[in-house]
């Protein structure tokens, strides 16, 4: 579903944020992307979402190059940044309707989807309020609903659990599994290692722009916990 091939990204100041990164996320995978602050996670995610142009390498989404067939790629993905700034002056329902219009979702389908996800995240009663009046967690929930309603094949999430209460986090994990059970794939970054350990079937650990470990979660961590492995790799590399 997502193939990152020898990806490198150098910023204007000469700093190489991502260096020769290669890995794949297959349909049904929940891929956790782990690394310390400034390791290159967000840069990689933004490149995969088509937000950043990269220096070298290729990114394919369902076989389409993000460089040359970006529209096809964008129809297949949903992306949520770490701090979702939304249109503060639209109401929640206006925003969801806008996203539905762009993806051409039918009337009945959008109504059912919005009902389903808004009820699950418990924000139905607030959908008529402007987004500017939402708390951080509510904005996060709204952004997640907007990502789920068009049934993306690939969900790209940057720190999706930040700002969510425990119940919402639990619900999100359920929806993530549901999407993957239906043939979708998820590529997300997180600092919460326990979540990654329990939720992801694949993980990648990035340090200073380079992938230092990648593969099936149980194979990568072996007998130790993910936290122990992460700290060991970060210290030793």
């Amino acid at each position: 579903m997502l193939k990152i091939d020898k990806l490198s990204k150098t910023y204007k100041n000469g700093k190489k944020a991502v260096d020769n990164l290669s890995f794949e996320v297959a349909p049904g995978d929940i891929f956790g992307f782990i690394g310390h602050n400034g390791a290159g996670k967000t840069t990689t995610i933004k490149c995969a979402a088509g937000l950043l142009e990269f220096t070298e390498g290729e990114i394919y989404i369902d076989g389409n190059s993000i460089k040359t067939r970006d529209m096809e790629c964008k129809r297949l993905i949903a992306y949520i940044p770490d701090n979702p700034d939304l249109y503060e002056n639209l109401t929640g329902i206006q925003y969801l309707n806008f996203i539905s219009d762009i993806f051409g979702i039918s009337k009945s389908e959008r109504e059912n989807s919005i009902k389903k996800y808004a009820q699950a995240f418990e924000i139905t009663s607030s959908l008529g309020d402007i987004i500017g009046a939402y708390s951080h967690g509510m904005k996060q929930k709204l952004a997640l609903i907007s990502a789920f309603i068009h049934k993306p094949r690939l969900l790209i999430l940057d720190e999706p659990f930040v700002g969510l209460d425990p119940k919402a986090s639990h619900i999100l994990k359920g929806f993530m599994r549901e999407l993957c059970d239906n043939g979708g794939a998820i590529f997300f970054s997180t600092h919460v290692l326990e979540v990654a350990e329990k939720l992801c079937n694949k993980i990648g650990i990035i340090k200073d722009g380079k992938l230092i470990a990648c593969g099936r979660t149980d194979e990568v961590k072996g007998d130790s916990s993910l936290e122990e492995l992460f700290l060991e790799l970060i210290e030793n590399e």
């Binding site: 529209m71 700034d85 219009d101 139905t124 309020d129």
Partner: protein, 531 residues
């Protein structure tokens, strides 16, 4: 260092983007910043020259009637009105709903220190324009009366201090508007309508200054006395500058500082409560799912642009100005209908009433540019449209359509009314509407191109993206040039048939529209992808 001074220092560094200019930016960005500063300086010099020339022409009349004091009144009134308007317009962002409220209130700083720093920033932001517009009048008075250095020294002190009273009044009006609107769901609508009303009052004030200085010279003495009655400090300013009275100066300074100090003292007591109240957003939390409307992508994009536009007070106030000017122009045309043939005879080339209507409408349309800050306004929300399956052209069309929706209905209404008043032929009517529409497309496309070249995506308040960005200044300048050029061509070519000239003008504008749109679709789209 005193806390207030510390705060002012930090705010100046932050709002002027000094660090970005000196340390963070690349050489390309430095060139852009340099160009922006250069452009601002050029515009300031042009305004100063224009105001000085205007004041000089008025002084010729005033000398005959030995009423040179009127220059001081006119300069002060202009400066005060500008300061009052800017304060009403900006106070909300500086004093009541500023982004760093939580940060500052959590620090061990007194409310008075925070308020003083915010008021200082507001005063500084007003002062430039206030001095730029008022000082030429004082300067011409000084030259005409051969005043000494002490006169200029006093003039500068007075201009700086005179901003305190309108700043206080403006802040109070803004506070009142905010309190009224804060209780309603339609906060922005009330703020927009209220501010446009004050804007119209401001324009009427400006017009009355013009009529006072140029037209009704016989009534000058009476007018001055009535102005002094309405606004007591006028008398003190006149006595200080014309009579070099130290008592009047001290009295004026005393009144200004006292009123300002009382405002700071009283407002500091309710500062926290007022800000808390005004930062609250209307929440109903009673939404129930009903039927949703399905729309096409272009309609959805236009709807999103419209919702964003009309919910942003700063955006509407700055870019809807041209549409308000169109309506004001219609009123002025109707009032001065009888004098129009005489006014037209002043032009070096013979022009018709229809041409004047077309020119005025084109000028007003060129002031209505919603696109110049539209990319910048996406700010940190840019990820939404960048990750959606939309082409850059789709996004551009939505933004261009917004400009047309704001300008064209007002244009149609204005030209239709004026066509009825001046009995324009169908051809003249169509030419006026056609040129207005072509100008609206031109300014919308050009505004987008400029914004793509000079985006300002990192901002904390929308004011920074709408008012303090190079793209908006350049778009205003481009609009101004697009109106000046045909006038220059008209004077140079002296066409025998004004309708043919208008047709050529329309044809050239349409060709430029196509060229600009082609550039936007190609280079503009490429620029958009790199944002």
């Amino acid at each position: 260092m005193n806390n207030t001074v510390l705060l002012i220092r930090v705010q100046l560094i932050n709002s002027l983007g000094i660090n970005k200019l000196l340390k963070g930016s690349t050489s390309k960005e430095k060139v852009k910043s340099g160009l922006f500063v250069g452009l601002m300086f050029f515009v300031a010099v042009m305004v100063f020259i224009q105001m000085s020339a205007y004041a000089w022409i008025i002084s010729d009349f005033l000398e005959k009637y030995k009423a040179m004091d009127v220059l001081i009144i006119a300069g002060t009134a202009l400066s005060l009105l500008v300061c009052l308007f800017m304060s009403i317009y900006k106070a909300s962002g500086y004093l009541f709903t500023f982004k760093d409220f939580d940060l500052l209130m959590s620090l061990p700083l007194s409310v008075r220190a925070i308020l003083a720093a915010k008021l200082f920033m507001l005063a500084v932001s007003n002062m430039g324009l206030s001095v730029l517009l008022g000082f030429p009048y004082f300067m011409v008075y000084g030259i005409r009366t051969s005043a000494g250095a002490i006169f200029y020294f006093l003039a500068v002190i007075l201009l700086i201090l005179s901003s305190l009273l309108p700043l206080t009044i403006g802040s109070l009006i803004s506070l009142g508007l905010g309190k009224v609107s804060g209780k309603s769901k339609r906060t922005n609508l009330i703020m927009i309508v209220g501010s446009f009303l004050f804007l119209l009052l401001f324009m009427l004030g400006m017009l009355s200054i013009n009529s006072l200085t140029a037209a009704n010279l016989k009534d000058i003495a009476e007018s001055i006395e009535s102005l002094k009655m309405v606004y007591y400090p006028f008398g003190l300013i006149t006595r200080t500058l014309a009579g070099l009275s130290l008592t009047a100066l001290l009295l004026f300074c005393g009144i200004s500082i006292a009123v300002f100090a009382v405002f700071v003292l009283l407002f500091s007591r309710s500062f926290k409560a007022t800000n808390t109240k005004m930062q609250e957003k209307y929440k109903a939390s009673d939404f129930k799912m009903t039927e949703l409307r399905v729309q096409s992508i272009p309609r959805a994009l236009l709807k999103k642009e419209l919702s964003h536009y009309f919910s942003s007070y700063v955006y509407v106030l700055n870019t809807g100005f041209g549409a308000v000017m169109m309506l004001l122009a219609v009123v002025m045309f109707i009032i001065n209908r009888e004098k129009l043939p005489q006014m037209l005879s002043v032009f070096p080339v013979k022009i018709s009433e229809a041409f004047l209507v077309t020119l005025t409408m084109a000028a007003c349309v060129s002031l209505t540019c919603t696109t110049a800050p539209s990319i910048s306004l996406e700010g940190r929300k840019l990820w939404i449209i960048r990750t959606l399956p939309l082409t850059a052209q789709d996004i551009f069309k939505g933004k261009i359509c917004l400009n047309l929706v704001v300008a064209v209905p007002v244009l149609l209404l204005s030209v239709t009314v004026l066509a009825a008043v001046f009995r324009l032929s169908v051809w003249e009517y169509l030419l006026s509407v056609g040129l207005g529409c072509a100008y609206s497309i031109f300014i919308a496309v050009t505004g987008l191109i400029i914004n793509l070249h000079f985006p300002k995506l990192e901002w904390t308040t929308q004011t920074a993206a709408v008012k303090q960005s190079a793209s908006v200044m350049l778009a205003i300048f481009t609009g101004f040039l697009s109106v000046i050029l045909p006038i220059v061509m008209l004077v140079l070519l002296k066409p025998s048939d004004i309708v043919v000239f208008q047709l050529l003008w329309l044809a050239v504008t349409v060709i430029v529209d196509f060229g600009a749109y082609r550039y936007l679709s190609g280079t503009g789209a490429a620029l958009f992808r790199t944002l």
